[in-house]
């Protein structure tokens, strides 16, 4: 399967993977996000920024390739923030 060209939107399965990761390690609430909240600086974007800040990545609030690559790295199951 050819590599995805730079900055193409991530697929459905990756979206699920990203949301799982943020729930598991950054305390993203698993409650459905009200649509109007999506337009603003949504909780997902905040959590992505929190993760990028904690792991020393460029803080963009977007799931760029570096962020996605970091999310796929093997790690400890204990969360990075929160309870």
């Amino acid at each position: 399967v050819p590599l995805r060209p730079e900055n193409t939107p991530i697929g459905e399965d990756e979206t699920t993977f990203v949301l799982d990761y943020l729930e598991k390690y950054y305390g993203l609430s698993s409650d459905p996000i009200p649509v109007e909240r999506k337009r603003s600086n949504s909780p997902v974007e905040q959590k992505i920024q929190e993760m990028q800040r904690f792991l020393g990545l460029k803080v963009t609030g977007k799931v760029d390739s570096d962020t996605l690559e970091m999310m796929h790295k093997p790690r400890c199951g204990v969360p990075d923030v929160g309870k």
Binding site: Y25, R53, F54, L55, G56, M70, K73, P74, R75, C76, G77, V78, P79, D80, K83
Partner: protein, 373 residues
Amino acid sequence: YSFFPGSPRWNKHDLTYRIENYTPDMSKADVEFSIQKAFQVWSEVTPLTFQKLNEGQADIMISFASEAHGDFYPFDGPEGTLAHAYHPGKGIGGDAHFDEDETWTKDSRRYNLFIVAAHEFGHSLGLYHSNVPHSLMFPHYSDSDPNTFQLHQDDINGIQTLYGPPLKSPKPTRSTPKTSAVPSTCSPNLVFDAVTTIRGEMLFFKDSHFWRKHPQLTEVDLNLISSFWPFLPTGIEAAYEVGSKDQVLFFKGNQYWAINGYDLLPRYPKNIQTLGFPSNVRKIDAAVHDKYSGQTYFFVDDLYWRYDEHRQAMNPGYPRKINSDFPGIESKIDAVFYHQRNFYFFQGSQQLQFEPSSKRVIQIMNSNSWFDC
């Protein structure tokens, strides 16, 4: 570094751990050694000590499991989450779980159990994740060399905030061997504390370590005594195997321990006087069992005793002078073992092969000639 909310920590320094089950990826001894070394990472920079229990409830229970395994955090198959652990507390508090769907190793192939366990035990002691990229408590697995592992200052600052620095005087704990300096296998001046056979292999003891050698194999394994037999002291002075009973006896001072495999036999350690030694004998220099005659020889300074394993009693007419029955063997003997109808006596860095049938020394070698240096 960071702490769990509320900064939970253990309110005692002497902690216990128990390995509830073992991954099939590694030998039991390698798992135990990796776990013991992982605790040693933390005991070396704090007042904490870690003692291994073989049954019952320990502060830190260690297990391997796949997918859902009885807590609210199922594992996720190969890769992804490797392990998790709980902060100090009762019940599941402190416990560490390792994902059995990973491949666990004792070397730098993924995933090295020692490295992951050292990280998880940081959680078991109260550390949360650190955002310092090369610290042990950084969330992601690092392919560092387990043999040159060094704790990051950030980890040390974190754990010492919880428990303080190590006690000034060296503390006698199981998990921190007195001389953890690793002896050099091919040093020409290597002097052994004790040597014995065990189930076809030879074990050469020195301080807190022993070398394991199979006569037919060239390589030799170096291990911590405590990784096989955590109940044994360091500095073993004598040891011998009674193959017919599948037992090995270890001596230090006026005590001795009998083991079967990994296990200490009930009601041990015992006092050496129970073997029939006079009360003025306070320690044994070396011991060896001759399976053909059923006799065990104990060497103390320039004398030796002979013990009948069948009658379980010392033979009358002993002690006798060593050189009267072992010409060419002068006192004091460091160690001795029996192999293919010969006695191998160790004195300093020399090894003397003694042939009982001709009652003479037939070869003199370096003590570590078995290590193929």
